[in-house]
């Protein structure tokens, strides 16, 4: 079968919407099938791979950071980038202007800066493109 590539445009910031979880599940499932994936993160979604995210304890329940095993989206993105290192390939592009507006330049390794022109190119070269907008 011909190499397939799926492009996703994401817009939701982390910890706000189930859309982010579903999007990351789609990326994971596609990579597991050997499908190349492009992600164009726009608006708040540029914070998904933010390196400054930290897991936290829960003082209400009296649990520690270790007890909580709080998931961070930066860890999910790093895992997906490791899974999609070569073949299949995961390309993750953060919109540069959105990054600057949010001061969100400190991201995990493998994420690169780009522009909507990258999204246009990705979409043109993909089997299909899925845009997941904010509500």
């Amino acid at each position: 079968m011909k190499n397939r590539t799926l492009t996703l445009a994401l817009m939701d910031p982390p910890y706000e919407s189930a859309n982010s979880t579903t999007a990351l599940r789609i990326v994971s499932a596609a990579l597991e099938k050997g499908i190349n994936v492009n992600v164009f993160a726009y608006e708040g979604a540029v914070c998904l791979p933010l390196k400054d995210q930290a897991p936290h304890a829960n003082p209400v329940k009296g649990t520690t950071v270790e007890d909580e095993e709080h998931p961070t989206t930066k860890a999910f993105v790093s895992s997906l980038l490791a899974l999609g290192k070569e073949s299949p390939l995961l390309t993750w592009v953060n919109c540069g202007l959105c990054v600057d507006e949010r001061g969100a330049a400190n991201v995990v390794e493998g994420v690169r800066r780009g522009s909507p022109a990258d999204f246009f190119k990705m979409a043109n070269e993909s089997t299909n493109t899925l845009v997941i907008p904010t509500k």
């Binding site: 859309n19 579903t22 597991e32 099938k33 899925l130 845009v131 509500k135």
Partner: protein, 107 residues
């Protein structure tokens, strides 16, 4: 003939515009295309038979799939589903949207 995959993520009791997906999916189906509605997140709340939300889509012959994780998270049991709805997976969604000649729309 084109394949259309509508991904419905919204709660039909919260978002009146889920009606738009129903109308569009039926209109596209009537024009002779393959149409699938894949429900995910709160979109699966429509999949319960007693809501009656999917009867028109089922009658129109639209393929109705519901994400298994979303169903499980919301405690929706298989016996509660509209008979035309099949429990599905994100894996199957990826297969559907990476077929040639397929349009995928998220709502």
């Amino acid at each position: 003939m084109t394949n259309y995959v509508f991904i419905e993520s919204r709660d039909p009791f919260d978002s009146r515009d889920t009606h738009f997906v129903e109308e569009t999916a039926i209109a596209v189906k009537e024009r002779g295309h393959n149409v699938t509605v894949f429900m995910v997140q709160n979109g699966v709340l429509a999949a319960r038979e007693r809501t009656g939300k999917l009867s028109r889509l089922a009658q129109a012959g639209v393929t109705l799939l519901a994400d298994d994780v979303s169903l499980h998270e919301r405690g929706i049991r298989p016996e509660e589903l509209e008979p035309a709805v099949q429990s599905s997976t994100i894996d199957e969604l990826v297969n559907a949207i990476t077929r040639e000649n397929t349009k995928a729309l998220w709502h």
